[in-house]
C-alpha cells in the first residue's frame, strides 16, 4: 500500500493514512472519525480541512460527497482571547 503521510488537518496533525486506518477499522460516520482523530477541531475549526475530509470519506466508502453530512459548526468562528470575552459586556440572550 502507498504510504501517504500528507496532512489533511494541519491543526490536529491528521494524515491521509490515519484517516484511512480509522475508516478501515469500520468507522465511517463523520462524527466518529472526527472524534477519533480530532480532525476539524483545532484552531481553524475545520475551515481548511473539512471539504477534503468529506471528499476522502465519500471516496473511501463509495458515496457522493453530498451524502456525507457536515460536522456541527461550533462557536466561536475564530479563537477569541478570554480577556476579550471577559471585557465584552453585551449579552445577546439565548439564540
Amino acid at each position: 500500500m502507498v504510504v501517504d503521510k500528507s496532512f489533511v488537518c494541519l491543526c490536529e496533525d491528521v494524515t491521509v493514512d490515519e484517516l484511512r486506518d480509522v475508516i478501515k477499522r469500520g468507522f465511517t460516520d463523520i462524527e466518529d472519525v472526527k472524534r477519533i482523530t480530532g480532525i476539524g477541531t483545532g484552531p481553524c475549526q475545520g475551515k481548511q480541512c473539512m471539504q477534503v475530509f468529506r471528499q476522502m470519506l465519500a471516496e473511501e466508502i463509495g458515496i457522493g460527497i453530498d451524502e456525507v453530512p457536515l460536522t456541527t459548526i461550533r462557536p466561536p468562528i475564530v479563537p477569541i482571547p478570554f480577556g476579550q470575552w471577559a471585557s465584552d459586556r453585551q449579552g445577546d440572550g439565548e439564540p
Binding site: 469500520g26 466518529d32 456541527t72 466561536p76 471577559a86 449579552g91 445577546d92 439565548e94
Partner: protein
C-alpha cells in the same frame, strides 16, 4: 439486524457500552445496543472527562472509588489510551459556608479512606501557583482524582465489543416498546426485535424511553455548556473547582484547557444550542482567577445534557413491575466517572447475580419512601 436478542440496550453512551463490556466479560455476548444518533453522541462525547471520588454521598463515593481503580486497568484491557491522569481534584472555598461544607465532606471521606485533605490558602496556592488566591480561604484536595479523555475510551469499548460480536446499531431509533411473551418487543427504524432483557441507558433521553414503556421516571435533562481553549504549555496539574459558581477547569494531555460553569440566566434547555453568554461568564471567571490567561484563546464551545435525578444520585434498578427491564440513569453529571462500576452493577442485575454494591440506595422507589440523601457536590 437480528430479530431476537438476549439483551437490548438503549443508548450507546458510556453506561450502555460499559454494561455491555461487563456482560461480555461474563460470557453474555448476545447483545444489541441501539443508538438514535452517532455513537455516544449525548453527554458521553460532550463531558469534560473529570473523574473524582470526592462526593457528598456514599452512593456516589462507592461507585467512583471502584471505578477509579478500574480506569487504571481499562486502557490496557481495551488497548486504548485514554490518558487517565491522576492530577487530583481541588475544591476551592471562598466563603465560610463553602469551607464548612468541604470540612464535613472531607471528614465523611475518612470512612472510605479516600485520603482527601483540607488546605489553607497557602496550601491551595502551592498546588495551583498560577491562580490568584485573593478570594480563596481554603480548599479540599484528593490526589487520586483526575481527568481522562473520553473519546478513546468510548471508541475503545465500541471496537472491543464489535470484535466480540456485540452489534451497535447507530442512527437507529427505538420508537415503541411493548411487553411480549418472553420479554420485550422493540419497534426500531430497522425493524422489530424481541429482547429478553432490556436496559434503559439513554442518558438525557432516559425519561422519554421510560414514558414509552408507560412507567414515567423522575429524571430530567438539564443543559450545561463547556469549552476548550487552544493548547497551552502545561501549568495546571489538578482539576480546579470553585463551589461558588460551579466553575471547573482542567488541562488536557495536549495542553488544552477544558471547563465549564453553572450558567446564570434563562435558556431553552436545548443541547444543540450554545450561547455566547456562557463564553463571557466563563471567560470572566477564568481571567479573574488566572489573569495570565487573558491572551489565551477559547477555541471551541458546545453543550450537552446532565440527566438529573431528584437527589442527584443515580437510579440503578429493575423497573418496578417490569421483569427483566432495567434502568441505569439519572447520573446528574457524573455518569462517565462512575461508569465502570455502573456497568458491573447493571451486568449483575441482568444476569440475576448480586451486584458488588448495596442495591437499596440506588432504587427508584427511594423517591416514594422519602429515604433520599441529596448529593450536594454537583458541579458545572
Amino acid at each position: 439486524m437480528k430479530d431476537h436478542v438476549d439483551v437490548a440496550i438503549i443508548g450507546s453512551g458510556i453506561t450502555g457500552l460499559s454494561t455491555a463490556y461487563s456482560l461480555v466479560n461474563r460470557g453474555c455476548r448476545d447483545i444489541v445496543i441501539f443508538e438514535r444518533g452517532s455513537l455516544a453522541s449525548g453527554a458521553s462525547t460532550r463531558n469534560g472527562g473529570g473523574v473524582r471520588a470526592q462526593f457528598a454521598t456514599e452512593e456516589n463515593i462507592l461507585l467512583a472509588k471502584w471505578s477509579i481503580q478500574r480506569f487504571r486497568m481499562l486502557g490496557a484491557e481495551l488497548n486504548a489510551n485514554f490518558w487517565f491522569r491522576q492530577g487530583g481534584y481541588l475544591f476551592v472555598a471562598e466563603t465560610e459556608k463553602e469551607l464548612s461544607l468541604l470540612r464535613s465532606t472531607t471528614e465523611f471521606h475518612k470512612r472510605f479512606n479516600l485520603g482527601t485533605r483540607m488546605l489553607d490558602c497557602e496550601g491551595v496556592q502551592a498546588i495551583v501557583p498560577e491562580m490568584v488566591c485573593t478570594s480563596v480561604i481554603g480548599g479540599a484536595f484528593r490526589k487520586g482524582d483526575g481527568v481522562l479523555f473520553p473519546f478513546p475510551l468510548l471508541f475503545g469499548y465500541a471496537e472491543h465489543l464489535k470484535r466480540t460480536g456485540v452489534s451497535i446499531e447507530t442512527h437507529c431509533e427505538v420508537s415503541a416498546i411493548k411487553r411480549s411473551r418472553k420479554g420485550y418487543e422493540l419497534i426500531t427504524s430497522r425493524g422489530t426485535i424481541y429482547a429478553e432483557h432490556l436496559l434503559n441507558a439513554a442518558g438525557g433521553w432516559s425519561s422519554n424511553i421510560a414514558k414509552m414503556m408507560g412507567t414515567p421516571i423522575p429524571t430530567n435533562p438539564a443543559r450545561h455548556q463547556i469549552m476548550v481553549s487552544e493548547p497551552l504549555s502545561p501549568f495546571l496539574d489538578p482539576m480546579v473547582v470553585t463551589l461558588r459558581d460551579g466553575f471547573y477547569m482542567s488541562q488536557g494531555p495536549r495542553g488544552e484547557l477544558v471547563g465549564g460553569i453553572a450558567e446564570v440566566g434563562q435558556h431553552k434547555n436545548d443541547p444543540r444550542k450554545s450561547g455566547s453568554d456562557f463564553c463571557r461568564q466563563m471567560s470572566s471567571r477564568i481571567v479573574s482567577l488566572f489573569p495570565r490567561l487573558g491572551n489565551a484563546r477559547m477555541m471551541r464551545q458546545w453543550a450537552g445534557y446532565y440527566d438529573m435525578s431528584p437527589d442527584a444520585n443515580p437510579i440503578l434498578d429493575e423497573v418496578p413491575g417490569f421483569e427483566r427491564a432495567y434502568l441505569a440513569c439519572g447520573f446528574s453529571g457524573h455518569g462517565f466517572m462512575i461508569s465502570p462500576a455502573v456497568g458491573e452493577f447493571m451486568a449483575s442485575l441482568i444476569l440475576g447475580e448480586r451486584p458488588p454494591f448495596p442495591r437499596e440506595p440506588y432504587r427508584l422507589s427511594r423517591f416514594e419512601t422519602g429515604e433520599i440523601r441529596h448529593e450536594t457536590l454537583v458541579i458545572g
